[in-house]
Symmetry: C2
Subunit: 340 residues, 2 copies
C-alpha cells in the first residue's frame, strides 16, 4: 500500500468537519483505502462479486448437512432468469441492491453444467479428491485455478470493479477451509471447525476427526502445498483473485471463513496482500475469528451470516464506499469556516 | 406492524435457497420489514435522512468540547456547494454514496441563518433554555416542533422515501439526551452520560452534575413533559418524524444516542412505534446500549461512530434494503429445483 497516501489521508482526516475520531472505524478504513488506491482522496467506484464454485471429494464422508448435488443446482440458481433479474440466490439479490456485478465461475463442480453465456468455465476436474485420504488436487491443477481466478479478477477490474469480492459455493467446503486454517495457523482441528451449513453435534465431531486424519497425512506448511493437499478449487481461484486484485491496486472485500482460508494462503505467499484485504463481517463459522486475528484486521459488522457466496462482502461494500466518500468529499474545518 | 405479512415472510424465509438461518440477522430484519410494509415481499426503495439542528441553553455550562457557534456553521456545511455536490459534512458524503436524499431543518438554532432554498425553517426559538435551571422549552414549542418533524417526514415520504433516517446536529445535545434517557429509563445520570464529541474526565463529571441538577428540578415522567423539561428542539422534531413515518408505514432507521432519546419518548407515547424502528449501529456514546436494551432491538453493526447527523443510519440503509431484497427476490428451493 501507498504509505505516503495513507499519511496524507490521516492528516486530512484530522481536518475534516467532525470531532476527531467521530467516524469510528470508518476513519481507519478510509486511510487504508487511501493506501490501496494511492490517493489521500480515494475514489473506488465499481463493485464486483466473483463467485467460484467447486465440489469436494470429502463430501462423500458426510461432513455437510447437504448433498453435493446442491453445488451445481446453486450454480444454476446464480445464473437463473428470475422476475427480479439474473440470479435467484442471496448473493444476486444483495448485489442488485448495491449495484454490484456478479461473475460466476465453475472452478471444479462435479456435474455436467449446462451452457450459459455468463458461466466462466475454469474447471480442470469435477471436484477434488477426498482430502482425508489423499491430496485434494495436484499442484498443477491448483496453480491453474489460481491463474484462472487471477484472469477473472483482471476482467472484473477492466470492466470497472474497484472493490473485488471473492465468493464461493461448494458443498462441504468448510471442511477443507478448516483443514487449511488449522495447518496454516498451527491450531488443532477442533479450534477451527464449525457447523458449516448446519451439522449437528455428532456430525461436527465426525468432521473434526476427518480433518485430523487429513492433517496427519502430511506435515507440509508450504502455502501452495497446503492449498493442494487440503483445499478446494474455489479456494485456489479466490487466492488468484486476491493476489491479482492487490497487484492491480484494487481492494479485496473478504467475506467469510472459506474466503479467509484462501487469504491465509495469500498472506503466507505475499505478506503485503494484507494491506488490500477488508474483512466484511465476523461470520458465525468457528475459526473465522482466528483467521481475522492472524490477519490483524477488524471486521465491519457481526450479523451472524454463514452463507458464503460473497454475501457478507456485498453488504460491506457500501460501508467501504462510504468510508472513502467521507475522506474524499467532506469539507475541512477551514473550507467550511468552522471553529475547529 | 402487519402480523400476517410477518408470518408469511417467516414461512417464505424458510423456503429460500439457503440453509435455514444462514443469512443471520438479515432474516429477522427482512421479517420485520415485511411487517412494516405489509408484504411478505417488502420492497422499500427511497432513503432519506432528515437532519434537524438545534441549540441548547445548557451549552453555556460547558458540557461540550465545542462552542455553540459550531451548530449554525454545520448547518451551513450541510447546505454548502462543494465540488462533490451539495453538502460538505459526513452525512452528505455518505448519503451521496448510498443515494439517500438529505433534508436539513432549523429546529431551533441560535443564529440568524442565511436564506437557503433547501433549508426547512421550523424554529420557534433560538435554542432551548438551560435545562439545569428551568424547563428547556414550553410544551407548546415542543408540540410545534413535533408537528414540524411530522410534516417533514410526510414530505420525504411523498418524495419517495421508504426508509426515513432522523438525524441531528446540536452542540451540547448529548446532555439533554442523557437527561431524557435517565428519566425515561429510571437510571442514574452517570449510567447514561458519555463523552459526546469528546470531553475529558473532568468535564464528563461536570456534565453528570449538570444532568443530576436538572433531574432534581422535577420528577415528571410524562413523556412529552420529559421532552419539554430536558430535551431539545431537534429531539422534538425527530419524535415527530418517527411517529409520522410509522403512521405512514415507513421504516425508521435509528441512528445514535440523541435519536434514541427521541425514540424513548416515542415508544412511551405509542408502544407500537417500536415495530417501525431499526437501530443502525451501536454508537460509542455511553447510554446507547441501555436505550437499545429497553427497545429490545439489536443494532446492525458496531463501528464506533459517535458523530450523529444520521450518519450511522445512512450506513445501515443498504443493509436493510439488502434484507428486504433477499426476502423478496431469492428463489425458493422449489423454484430453483434444488434438493432442500
Amino acid at each position: 500500500a501507498d504509505a505516503a497516501a495513507m499519511q496524507a489521508a490521516r492528516a486530512r482526516q484530522a481536518q475534516l468537519t467532525k470531532p476527531a475520531g467521530a467516524l469510528g472505524d470508518l476513519e481507519d478504513l478510509g486511510v487504508r483505502l487511501a493506501g490501496v488506491f494511492g490517493s489521500e482522496r480515494p475514489h473506488p467506484r465499481g463493485v464486483a462479486v466473483l463467485v467460484a464454485a467447486g465440489d469436494h471429494g470429502v463430501a462423500a464422508d458426510g461432513v455437510s448437512a447437504y448433498p453435493a448435488e446442491v453445488t451445481p443446482a446453486m450454480v444454476a440458481n446464480f445464473l437463473a432468469d428470475t422476475p427480479a433479474g439474473p440470479g435467484g440466490a442471496a448473493v444476486n439479490a444483495l448485489a442488485r441492491t448495491v449495484g454490484a456485478q456478479v461473475y460466476v465461475m465453475d472452478a471444479g463442480v462435479n456435474a455436467d453444467l449446462p451452457d450459459h453465456p455468463a458461466l466462466i468455465r475454469a474447471a480442470r476436474q469435477r471436484g477434488t479428491r477426498n482430502l482425508r485420504q489423499e491430496a485434494a488436487m495436484t499442484r498443477d491443477d491448483a496453480e491453474a485455478l489460481v491463474l484462472a481466478g487471477a484472469a477473472l479478477a483482471r476482467r472484473a477490474a477492466e470492466e470497472g470493479a474497484d472493490l473485488l469480492i471473492p465468493g464461493e459455493m461448494g458443498i462441504g467446503n468448510t471442511t477443507p477451509a478448516a483443514a487449511m486454517t488449522a495447518r496454516l495457523l498451527n491450531l488443532d482441528a477442533a479450534q477451527v471447525t464449525g457447523r458449516g451449513t448446519g451439522v449437528d453435534d455428532a456430525r461436527l465431531a465426525h468432521k473434526v476427526t476427518v480433518i485430523r486424519e487429513a492433517l496427519a497425512r502430511t506435515d507440509t506448511t508450504n502455502p501452495l502445498d497446503v492449498l493442494a493437499e487440503f483445499g478446494g478449487f474455489e479456494m485456489a481461484a479466490m487466492l488468484g483473485m486476491m493476489l491479482q486484485a492487490a497487484a492491480l491496486r484494487r481492494a479485496v472485500v473478504l467475506d467469510g471463513f472459506v474466503e479467509g482460508s484462501a487469504a491465509l494462503v495469500g498472506v503466507a505467499l505475499a505478506p503485503a496482500l494484507r494491506d488490500f484485504l477488508f474483512p466484511a463481517g465476523e461470520c458465525a463459522e468457528r475459526g473465522h475469528a482466528a483467521q481475522l486475528s492472524h490477519l490483524g484486521l477488524k471486521p465491519m459488522f457481526r450479523l451472524g451470516l454463514r452463507l458464503g457466496e460473497g454475501t457478507g462482502g456485498v453488504l460491506a461494500a457500501p460501508i467501504l464506499l462510504s468510508a472513502a466518500a467521507a475522506l474524499r468529499e467532506m469539507q475541512t474545518f477551514e473550507e467550511a469556516g468552522i471553529p475547529g
